[in-house]
Amino acid sequence: MNSLIKLEITRALRNRKFLFFSVIYPSALFLLIAGSADSTTEVDGTGLTLPTFFMVSMASFGALTAVLMGNSERIAKERESGWVRQLRLTTLPGRGYVFAKTASAAVISLPSIVIVFVVAAAVKDVRLDTWQWFALTGVIWAGSLVFAALGVAIGYLASGDAVRPITMIVYFGLSMLGGLWMPTTTFPDWLQNIAKWLPTHAYAALGQAIELGNAPHTKDIAILAVSFALFAGGAAWLYRKDTLKA
């Protein structure tokens, strides 16, 4: 399985388009949104300055992009091409394929998180304690597993032409409504009530709590845990269904 993971990583690092969108794009978006903001204005109801707030949002967004896109489209495409069938004729256990995909996506998501932090610190003078930097990296990286599982589920749910639009709707929907692009406090009340239950909102909230020097809220951790269970369970079910059909 290690050789498959290695090859998946090599291949992901070779794909410039994928690298651009998951590694460079979040930092560029950060500069675009937070670039002109001063470092003292706080985002309503968060206690965080605009650059600090968007640093976590964009790091989360970058990790989300890498794992969701990396898994869903590739799995759907490789199911269709028959590569997944070919792999079933090897000693590789069935879950090994999904595991290798997720591991390679995680390798890409780490630099995308770190680069946003470096840009935020260098350009917008975001300053945090050492433990906060490490905790943020760890939490955002680990939290991205939830969306990796979602990517796997979509990859086994949709195929062909359908997978891209479905991925895009889920991706933009979760990013926007979860407040990764703009604070949810700017939403009307009814939308805020929906947004606060989304896994992406809980995901960004983990990082924001750490930036304020707090432990993440239990409610956010619970939302993420439940989402992970749902996505991973759905992915496992769809995977088994696909295996019987193929």
């Binding site: 050789s3 490789e78 028959g82 590569w83 070919q86 079933r88 004729l89 090897t90 000693t91 193929a246």
Partner: protein, 335 residues
């Protein structure tokens, strides 16, 4: 004691064993009560038209699909166990390749995943793809991709090699080179099973030919036996005036006859005797042609003959409800 020895010997000498295996998709029976056995060292062609159930049979053999009923054993175990033990190498018609990686990297992966791997360099050389080892997989021609699939199937020391339509997309010379490579594999004592509808391939390469039609085994023998079974030569000629079919039908060694317009086409198991008797009828055949029957025509003839027998037998036993289901299923298949 003797009994036990016999049982053990039977188990070890059977490479693949299908017993009354059935697999349906909805109303369509893709594999219908298939029983067959492959022995070590055989090169076996699985021959049949599209939709005969070849790919489904191979999928069942490889554990990619589960049978509705019956048992599939590979080296005495389930298909998945045989694959995990590294005893089976397979090349699927529908087997995709990982793209954005090079041919060399992909072959290396297949070697790493095999329990009894060969060196990647040797696998590349044997498949004749050393020169394209640095090429990206998604930039290959159809024939090159087939060679890469072959390399994946032969990445380790497997005892059984399964190939589904392996030469699809290859030109004639590539096809010959491919079969030369394949013969080397067989000469090392491996069992080789390949599905094909290139009938000359079955004729030229296989020790044994299994003819599959509508998920059933129609014939099992050497290519020569199958040709003999269908009638060996074709005789065609024109007659003037009104053709009286009755004496023609009574010709010796005739296996089938077709009269259209002034042209008569006959299949005969002894063309010399048939033609001799034809002149004895007092007719003057023009444009007389006598030609050998390739395996393709032989195959069509067997299929048609069996079909007629089966249909007659089934119609005698079938209830009207079954008839309706069957017709619907056939319509579904033909679409």
């Amino acid at each position: 004691m003797d009994d036990m020895t016999t049982t053990a010997a039977t188990t070890t000498t059977s490479v693949v064993r299908f017993e009354s295996v059935t697999k349906s998709y909805g109303n369509v029976r893709a594999v219908d009560g298939l029983t067959l056995e492959l022995h070590p060292g055989e090169t076996v062609a699985l021959l049949g038209p599209n939709g005969a159930g070849k790919s489904t049979t191979l999928d069942l053999l490889l554990g990619l699909k589960n049978a509705d009923s019956g048992t599939v054993r590979v080296f005495g175990t389930g298909p998945r166990e045989a694959i995990v033990a590294g005893r089976v190498g397979a090349m699927l018609q529908s087997g995709g390749l990982m793209d954005e990686v090079t041919v060399g990297e992909l072959v290396k992966l297949a070697c790493d995943l095999h329990p009894k791997p060969y060196r990647a360099g040797d696998v590349l050389a044997r498949a004749g793809i050393t020169q394209i080892a640095d090429r990206k997989v998604n930039k290959l021609s159809g024939g090159q991709a087939q060679r890469v699939r072959f390399a994946l199937a032969t990445a380790g020391d497997s005892d059984l090699i399964v190939l589904d339509e392996p030469t699809t997309g290859m030109d004639v010379s590539a096809r010959q080179a491919f079969w030369a490579t394949m013969r080397e594999q067989a000469d090392q004592g491996r069992t080789v099973l390949f599905a094909t509808h290139y009938l000359e391939e079955a004729d030229a390469i296989a020790d044994r030919v299994l003819v599959l039609h509508r998920g059933r085994l129609l014939a099992d023998g050497t290519a020569a036996e199958i040709k003999a079974k269908a009638g060996a030569r074709r005789v065609a000629f024109d007659l003037e005036g009104t053709i009286d079919e009755a004496p023609l039908r009574a010709l010796p060694f005739l296996t089938s006859i077709d009269v259209s317009g002034q042209t008569v086409r006959i299949q005969s198991s002894d063309a010399d005797a048939t033609v001799h008797a034809l002149y004895g009828l007092g007719v003057y055949p023009r444009n007389l042609e006598v030609a050998g029957l390739g395996l393709e025509q032989a195959f069509v003839a067997i299929t048609a003959a069996e079909e007629a027998t089966l249909t007659a037998a089934e119609e005698a036993t079938r209830t009207p409800a079954e008839e309706a289901t069957r017709t619907a299923a056939e319509e579904a298949t033909s679409k």
